[in-house]
Symmetry: C2
Subunit: 331 residues, 2 copies
């Protein structure tokens, strides 16, 4: 009998289709992979080609070279220049597409992937995220900032060289508002003054069957109602609504656990395409009691079709407990 589980964080139900379930091994992405060179002369993100990108906004220097750099996105979805103009004409509400959009170049090496980088390099990437998020939020036009990585064609990337993106938008996304509303309701009416995410994390730790890795500051797990196979969350143990508030020790612990989890996916599923997203609110907000920042990792091993588009619900063909066990044993 399949089971329908409630994802209390997103407020939605997930069908765990155990009858259709595949073995974890069956999700392995054993498609033929092209060997990449460590340097590509036409790649705008490779060392020596710095002039092919817009002017750098931040750089971490090491041994006379850069380790990580951030640059404005040449194909930005939003315009960095201009004021916010609002217009309402009949039923048409619009805001001018002002915003910030940068690319974070994660390593000088063209053919690398986070899973295989030294922890110090992952630390530099996260430090850059923190710097850019704070810089973005210091722009009063920016309402919300999202940091994400698209790895592989199936996850929507068009450039091979390892990079992530940060986008600052002048509106607050409806989906995030919905999540925040859910968190506030839970804070007051369900948990009597405790953060929904803190409560949830305690539950996952008590249960234990879906935990993949943990350290002093973070816990990585396949959630009880994971939306898709190997869907993972990395939660900070310390309550905070904003990623950019983390201290040096947490940043280092995050480097370890992020690399560890991505390595488990890399080895267990043979370098799958994936997205990860840092879900965070602004450091300005007064809402820090309710929301809890975290990282969501979505390996692209299944596809959303009409059912998912039409209901917002997901059908997960892998048992979360088995996905977690598989990843625990992957290295």
């Amino acid at each position: 009998m399949p089971e329908i589980r409630l994802n209390t964080i997103t407020g939605d139900w997930v069908i765990i289709a155990t009858e259709r379930a595949k073995r974890p091994e069956d999700f392995s992405c054993q498609k033929e992979k092209r060997e990449l060179p460590s340097y590509s002369e036409r790649c705008p993100f490779c060392p020596g080609n710095e002039s092919m990108t817009p002017d750098e906004t931040f750089r971490i220097a090491k041994n006379g070279m850069w380790s990580v750099r951030s640059v404005p996105n040449k194909f930005s979805a939003l315009s960095p220049v201009g004021n916010i103009e609002k217009s309402k004409d009949d039923f048409k509400y619009a805001i001018s597409g002002v915003g910030l959009h940068e690319v974070i170049i994660e390593t000088p090496q063209h053919n690398m992937t986070t899973a295989l980088l030294p922890v110090e390099q992952v630390y530099d990437i996260l430090l850059t995220y923190q710097n850019r998020m704070l810089a973005f939020y210091s722009d009063p036009r920016i309402e919300h900032v999202i940091i994400f990585k698209n790895h592989g064609v199936g996850a929507g990337t068009s450039l091979e060289h390892p990079h992530s993106q940060i986008v600052g938008i002048p509106v607050f996304p409806g989906q995030v508002m919905g999540r925040l509303g859910e968190a506030i309701r839970n804070y007051y009416y369900v948990n009597f003054g405790e953060c929904l995410y803190c409560t949830y994390l305690k539950g996952e730790l008590r249960d234990g069957s879906r935990i993949v890795a943990e350290n002093d500051s973070f816990v990585a797990f396949v959630p009880y109602a994971a939306l898709s196979p190997f869907h993972l969350w990395i939660f900070p143990r310390k309550h905070d609504a904003c990623f950019a508030s983390i201290d040096e020790k947490q940043l280092l612990d995050l480097s370890y656990i992020l690399k560890d989890i991505l390595l488990r996916l890399y080895k267990g599923l043979d370098n799958p395409d994936f997205n990860y997203m840092i879900r965070s609110l602004s450091p300005r907000g007064a809402d820090s009691k309710y929301f809890h920042w975290y990282i969501a990792i979505v390996p692209r091993v299944s596809q959303a079709a009409g059912f998912e588009l039409g209901t917002g619900m997901f059908i997960n063909t892998a048992l979360p407990e088995e996905s977690a066990r598989f990843l625990r044993e992957a290295i």
Copy 2:
């Protein structure tokens, strides 16, 4: 300057990335296509192979043959047998995966597509949808029913023979609940007692620039804040929360406009992969004042990546007015 538009139906913002925008022609799916045979002896949906599917639940007969038939899905995501058992263990809420899942075989012809079917055949498909939706909702275990079609590999289908699916679930999806909440709020506080969707449709008709086709009962348009290129909605003019309530005249008008729109996509974009979904509530509900059923069509010409997963917002690289003009001129 890009523009960020509010989708008042979904309550979310959409970035219309005009600087990145492609010409409508650039979305054409000119990948090489395999010629399909009109009959395949191993296809469970081809005539003569009826024994390969579970027992038929409904059939429309014509000239001694079937025109459309529905059968339980052999690989159902939910179990049709059993009672709803609810369990709550600590933070884990679950409901047994009881539900209905059928496949609607749209034509005996293996290599057909809705765009090229005679209108009478499209009528038979819609009549089957109506019959199955009413049958599903007559099962007291079913809280919500979704009808959808996945066309092409990029839209998540695994079988070539034209078919759609209907799923009845024992829970009410969070996303649909969110939309309903938005509609109720608008009914009372924004529109003072008028359906959000009726109000919205009047606006689109007044504006006119995104209308693609219309007839006595339906209007097909690219919404002002379309989530993706060529994203389309077909709204009934008559207010009703449930698709299954439509009468014969409406069913016929819907056959014409659905075929017409799919033909425009077929010709204009060279047979793109697409999903369509019928968004509807139950005929039982007392909520019929607020919600308005409709069909959403999503050609899969763009890909959701980290930005979309992390914010729920979309970046549309096509101007909705241009997508609409292109489809108006496509036939």
